[in-house]
């Protein structure tokens, strides 16, 4: 029974690129094990260059793995890639819209490539135009679409053949906040229709709000996995963030607090000091007293629950936020 619930499973999936005429080897993905449950939104979180797109390319049959095994929608990745293509949808980072045609023609072509006859393809296209609210611009050339409109068409194209599993590579990169929120809604609606979603992202809020289950990848290795809540609970600590106006005060606070045993870790970022502690709410008072007694002037203070960035920091020693991107 359990087997039916798993739409994707990898064992030691690996990709090594050989460049420079065989002289150098780049291990883009170093043997990953994944399990994706049916009907969930699975998030693959990691910084740029972590191996997300390479993994996705392998799972969508675009790239042949150098090692390991995988089963996608019940078929062996290495032996039956043609079968897999019938049941998966794929929306790449660049989308894949035919820029010489309008939305309707794009959808019809995609349906026909999946074996639908002319009439069926046309019907399916108009269904999707309605479902993804494309009707306003469906007959206009795609070159005139806004970022959000194009993204909705990308998603519709991935859904044409009613896939069991859809892969979305960085689905909201480059969208403005409003379009992002709208697009998240679209993704949730796809999930409600019973489709499993596998997406990659480097946005913490996207991983936090949208995904049911996360795998965090860094330098080709999975460093943590679980639901967002589980991952944060694993960290088991909160942070007190104190802001200072004067850097002298910050330095003084740093040396004072560094001696306290209840502080697990201390980190300064610009004019702020991050203290990692077990029981933040109680310790907040102690910290305030201590600094006040030594006449250290504070500008602001806040208590933060652990974030996914803290999880990433804990596992890799780096902050995902600092990576920028």
């Amino acid at each position: 029974m359990e087997k039916d619930d798993i739409v994707l499973e990898t064992k030691g999936l690996k990709k090594t690129f050989v460049t420079n005429k065989g002289k150098t080897q780049v291990e883009a993905v170093k043997g990953i094990n994944l399990k994706v449950n049916k009907g969930k939104i699975f998030g693959f979180l990691g910084p740029n260059g972590a191996g997300k797109t390479t993994s996705l390319s392998m799972l969508t049959t675009l790239l042949v793995p150098t090692g390991g095994d995988a089963t996608v929608v019940g078929f062996d990745l290495l032996k039956e890639p043609e079968k897999i293509r019938e049941y998966i949808g794929y929306v790449s980072q660049s989308g894949g819209v035919d820029m010489s045609a309008n939305a309707e023609d794009n959808l019809i072509l995609q349906a026909r490539l999946h074996g639908a006859s002319g009439d069926v393809a046309k019907k399916r296209a108009s269904e999707l135009i309605k479902q993804f609210e494309l009707s306003e611009f469906a007959e206009r050339k795609t070159t005139s679409y806004s970022g959000g409109q194009k993204r909705r068409l990308d998603l519709a194209l991935g859904m044409v053949h009613r896939p069991k599993l859809i892969f979305l590579d960085e689905p909201t990169t480059g969208l403005d906040p409003q379009s992002r929120a709208h697009f998240w809604e679209e993704i949730r609606r796809v999930k409600t229709a019973g489709v499993t979603i596998f997406l990659t992202t480097h946005y913490l809020d996207e991983a936090d709000n949208l995904c049911d289950y996360l795998a965090i990848i860094d330098q080709g290795t999975i460093v943590a996995e679980g639901s967002s809540t589980q991952l944060k609970r694993q960290i088991g600590r909160e942070s007190i963030i104190i802001g200072f106006k004067d850097m002298k005060d910050l330095e003084q606070a740093k040396s004072l607090l560094g001696k306290q045993s209840y502080i697990l870790k201390l980190r300064s970022e610009e004019n702020k000091l991050h203290l990692y502690v077990k029981d933040g709410e109680k310790l907040l008072v102690d910290v305030l007293h201590l600094l006040d007694n030594h006449a250290v002037e504070m500008h602001s203070i806040e208590l933060a629950k652990p974030s996914l960035d803290d999880v990433f920091l804990e596992k890799t020693g780096r902050s995902l936020r600092e990576e920028g991107s």
Partner: protein
Amino acid sequence: MKLVYDTHILLSRNLKKRFGEKIWFFLGMLQPALYLLLYMPLLKNVGNTSALPLERITQIFVPGMLIIMGISSLFVGFSFIPEIREGFITRLLVTPISRAAILLSFIITQVVVLFLQVIILLFIAFLLGLRSSFEAAFLSLILVALIGITMSSLSYTISIITRSEDALASIVNTLYLPIMLLSGIMLPISLAPDWLKSAARFNPFYYAVEASRALFLENYSAPVIAEGFGIMLLFAVISVWLVVKALRNMTS
């Protein structure tokens, strides 16, 4: 057959795109005619042969023009590279249609466009006084198709490997001039010094031009015809093999 069906779906999409760009398509179709109208009169007094009759010039020049049109298939990559960049080609690769159908449809698209251009050119040449048999025109069409297959496959190969219009532009420019000069299309090779004549022997398209001219002169027993077809067929096979390999490397 699934391959034929899949190829046909993509082929109609590709043709719709080519014909959809109305102005550009029209200009593209007009180009060979411009060559005929503007360039051919210059050939009148070339070399020592003074004042050839126009009909004789068309018999020499039009076969060369057909080969030029075939060679121009090198340019197809310029519309293919954006399709790679926009992810359209990748999108095709994740659908159940075969790789063979994808490549075939893109190559055949160019051959269809070439056929149209050749027919227009022959019609204008006919108005200018070219007289030839149906067989000669038909066989030349096949020869042009072979060149179209070769050059479009090469162009797609370069596009897949470099993914850069800049790279494609410099490669096409570098290839274009020696191929044209050493094929005796624009100027007769008989005017060239000996070393250039020997160099022309290494240009496969020289044989294609010679074959096409022999066809239009209805000199069917000339050995250059078999040579021209043989060499072009060989090059077509090699370049299709190259593009198949390039597409396969894209996914490894």
